[in-house]
Each structure stands twice: as C-alpha cells, then as structure tokens.
Amino acid sequence: MFNLKYKDDLYKIILSVFVLSVISVFLIAVTVILFYSYPAIIRYGFPFLWVKEWNPPKEVFGALTFLAGTFMVTFLALLFAIPFSFGIGIFLQEYCPLFLRGIFTVIIEMLAGIPSVVFGVWGVLTIVPWLRESVEPFFDRHFSSIPFLKVEENIGYGILAASIVVAFMILPIISSITKDSLASVPKIAKDGALAMGATKLDVIKDVSLPYALNGIYGGIILGFGRAVGETIAVVLLIGNQAIVPKSLFSVGYTISAVLANTFTFAVISPIYASAEVELALILLAVSLIINIVGRNILNKVIGGRFNRSQFGGG
C-alpha cells in the first residue's frame, strides 16, 4: 500500500518526466534546426536576410522575398482583424445580452477551431472570385495610379486574398482576449465612473479600455504569432511566386508557404535544404519572441485565466 506522501512523490516524478520530455523534444528540435541551417548561415551570412534572389540551381539564396511576403500578409491581416476584433470583444462584454453572449462566444471559439486548410479552401472559393470580379476591376479603374494599389494581373490570388483569410483566422484570438481583458476590469473601477454620471461609452473609453489595454496588446501579439506562421491557407491563396510584392494585389510568397511547397525537393541538395532550414529558423525565432512577449503581457494582466489550447492551431 502507498501512503499519501509516497503517492504524492510518485505523481511528482511522473509529471516531471512528462515535463522534461516535452522540454527535451523542444530543445532537440531547436538543435536540429540550428545544426541543419548552419552550412547556409556560414555560407550566406547576414546578406541572406536582404538578398532578393532565390535560385536553387545556381545555389544563390536570399530570403528577402519571403520575409517581405510574410510581413505584408501578417501586417495586413492584423490591420483588418484588429478593428473587427475590438468591436466584437467590446460588444460581447459590454453590450451583448447575457443569453446571447454565451452563444456568440461559442461561435467565435468554434471559428478558432476550424482547420486552416478549410479556411484556405473557403478563401479560394469565395474571396478569390470576389477579388477578381469586383474588387480588382474597381481598383484598376479608380486607383491604378497609386503603385501600392495597382492591379498587375487580375487573378484574385495574392497578398490581399491571403491577408483577408488570415485576418479571419486571427479574429477569434484577438476578440476573445479583448473580451476577457474587459471582463477582468474591476467592477469598482467602472462603478467609480458611473457614479460620476459617466455614460456606458465614457466608462468603456476612459476606464475599461485603459485597464484592458495591456491584455489587448497581448492578444494582438498572439494574433501576430499565429498570422506569421500560417501556412496552408496562405499556400492556397498567395500565388506562390518569389517576388517582393509591390502592391496589395501582387502575388507573393511567405516563409511557411515556400517551406510547405518545396522542402520535399530541397532535401536533395544539402545547401538548398540548409537554406530552407534557415528560413524555418527565422520563422521559429520570430514566433518564439512574439509569443514570449505576448504571454508575459497577458499573464501580468489576466493572470492564469488565459489558456492557449482554447484557440487551437491549424
């Protein structure tokens, strides 16, 4: 028979083994990625980050086109998602009748659980034709003199299509965190403003949002983390051409998309493979930094209430 103390110790040991194995898998993954990218890091040095050409047969490798595509898609997705997410979060927490709040919250969480390939297929079937038939002709007629809004090929695929779909994918995480941060504003703080004669809008603007701001930053950063690594939906929508996109409607490529499309061939040539692993390393570093920063902010604001598993991945 175990006595209680002994049982506790046993649990502790078993749990430690699990924790340690997770940590070691992570460390091994990082080591492998560092190991395989090492030849490319040595051979191409820092210019890897700003060379435009990506030419496997000539063994010329520069990541600029992918970096540009990745950051454009991420930035635009955030730009589209943030205002809507704020609206949704504020509505759910402050204006939505209680019985509807539950239903809407479940719907938004379900949106977070949809696999990204489904988002991608949906984008191909709806967003791409919409861009091709309505949006691009409109911009071509009215804004063709503005370089950033120039329509080069009227095909619907490209940076904008990918950004719109990724925006939908990060909407749930940012809106639920906005909602949770608003929910964690102390009632007594809001009461203070109401007692002064503040309207509900005054309270949101002057008390709740300033209180919730750090949490909301955290949500944005996690949304960034998800957008930057988003793969399958982007592969289906961005056009997959290694050029630096000059316009919203250009086709492009992202780090994750090029890895998904070409890594199986790349392994044939050691230096090609190494260059691609270096791309993976950059992505890993960016998302790691972003996640750590975001999580720290969140933990400070809403304590342990935040749980990532809720937002799934895809």
Partner: protein, 254 residues
C-alpha cells in the same frame, strides 16, 4: 415648512429585490441637510445596496427591482423624467477601496467636469486645485499632478477619490466604508475631512466601525437583514438605543 426644508433626502417605503430575493424591506428614513449620517449593520444586511439606491447605481444590476420613493429636495429620483447623469453629478460617491481611474492625478479629478461638458481649461485647473486642497492632498501631490494616480499610497488614493467626488460640486456625498482598507492614520485624516465637509454636503456613510461612527455622526441608523431597526440622533443612538438589537450591535454582540 421650515422643518420640511431641512430634509435633503427622504426615503419612503423603499423595497429592493435581487431577483426573487427581497433584500431591503420597507425602509423609511430621511437625511437632514448638512448632517453626517452613518449606517451601521452586520455584513450582508444590505447597507451598500441601500446606499446605491440613493444614486441609482443599481440601475445596471441584472435582476434588480425597486419599489417606493427616494426624494431628493422633494423630487423622486426614480421618476421617469429624471436624468440619471444629472442626478449623479449632484451626488458624489466614495467606495470601500480606493478606485482611481487609470489616468493622471489631474485627469482623475477633471474627469467628472469633462463628462459634464465643461471645457474651459482655466476653470478645470482651478477646480482641480481647489478639490485637492479640500481633500487635504494638494501639498502632497502638487508637483506630480500629471503622474499616474496609481503611484499614490492607498490613503492618498482614497483622498484623491474624495477630491474627485466633490469636483462636480455635488450637494450629497455617499461613502461606502471609505476607511475600510486604510491604516489608522489615513483613516483619521479622512474622518476629520468628513467632519469639516458637512458645512457643504449632506453626508451618508456606511460604516463597520462603531467607534468611528460615534465620532463623526449626527444621525445613525442600524440595519439588520434588510430592515431598518433603528434610526435616531447619534446622541440617543449610541447611548440610549431603543431597540435591544441595536444595543447588542453597538456593544458588539454581532
């Protein structure tokens, strides 16, 4: 008629419910102009809820229901024609723990003025300074008016909240255990403030502390399980309570 004029707030047949829970039962009492009244009672007896009926802070509470009347200067504040924003401008409220806004010291006090549409910068600056002086905080904060209110100590924050509550020049001050979380020295400062403030305001305070209440009250009321058991001038209330339950409470048997 002169008698009538002395009454600032009159509560008539007030009943309050949280859903089906009948919390406040047929409360009748009045508060005289420029007096300090403390409301005492064991935890959970409905003191805070009662205080919040006086500035309609329960309006937003889910499931809350109220019957009866609260007359301020003879006018029922639950009347359909009453503008809640205007009403609250006339009633300052201070809470159990300091709750400054996430803003600078200056903006905390200016907030009330701004939401009531006052834009004149000079007036605001003057008013902020005056309120800080009334609350006995000015000398301590005059060099850091634009620092965050959270940088102040608890006692200072509570005085800031008092300064904030009087910024819109109300005629009534509601305080819900304003010294509950303060150290004795800070609490004492606030009690002194209350005594000087009754020149300008009708003050209604919820308190747990019988000694403090005795020190500052002109009138006192005792609540038990949502009923007003006794209400009287402080002299009688603390020395010759009529009800046995009041006596038990002030001799600390609850």
């Amino acid at each position: 008629m002169a008698e009538q004029n002395e009454i600032k707030v009159e509560v008539k047949n007030l009943n309050f419910y949280y859903g089906n829970y009948h919390l406040l039962k047929n409360i009748n009492l009045y508060f005289k102009r420029n007096s300090v009244c403390t409301l005492l009672g064991p935890s959970g007896c409905g003191k805070s809820t009662f205080l919040r009926t006086l500035n309609r802070m329960n309006d937003y509470t889910e499931g809350a229901k109220l019957t009866g009347e609260v007359l301020i200067d003879g006018k029922n504040i639950y009347d359909k024609s009453v503008d809640v924003v205007e009403l609250r401008r006339n009633i300052g409220m201070v809470f159990q723990s300091p709750n400054p806004f996430p803003k600078s010291i200056f903006d905390n006090i200016a907030f009330g003025l701004k939401i009531h549409g006052i834009k004149n910068r000079e007036f605001i600056v003057e008013r902020v300074e005056k309120c800080l002086k009334y609350a006995g905080l000015y000398d301590e904060v005059k060099d850091k008016l634009h620092k965050s209110a959270f940088s102040l100590s608890g006692g200072q924050q509570q005085r800031l909240c008092i300064a904030r509550a009087i910024a819109t020049n109300p005629s009534i001050l509601l305080m819900d255990e304003p010294t509950a979380y303060l150290d004795p020295a800070s609490a004492s400062i606030i009690l002194d403030l209350i005594t000087t403030f009754k020149k300008y305001y009708t003050i209604i305070i919820v308190s747990h502390n019988i000694q403090q209440a005795g020190r500052i009250s002109d009138y006192s009321g005792f609540f038990l399980d949502g009923e007003l058991i006794e209400f009287d001038e402080a002299g009688n209330f603390f020395t010759r309570p009529k009800d046995k339950r009041t006596e038990n409470f002030i001799t600390s048997r609850y």
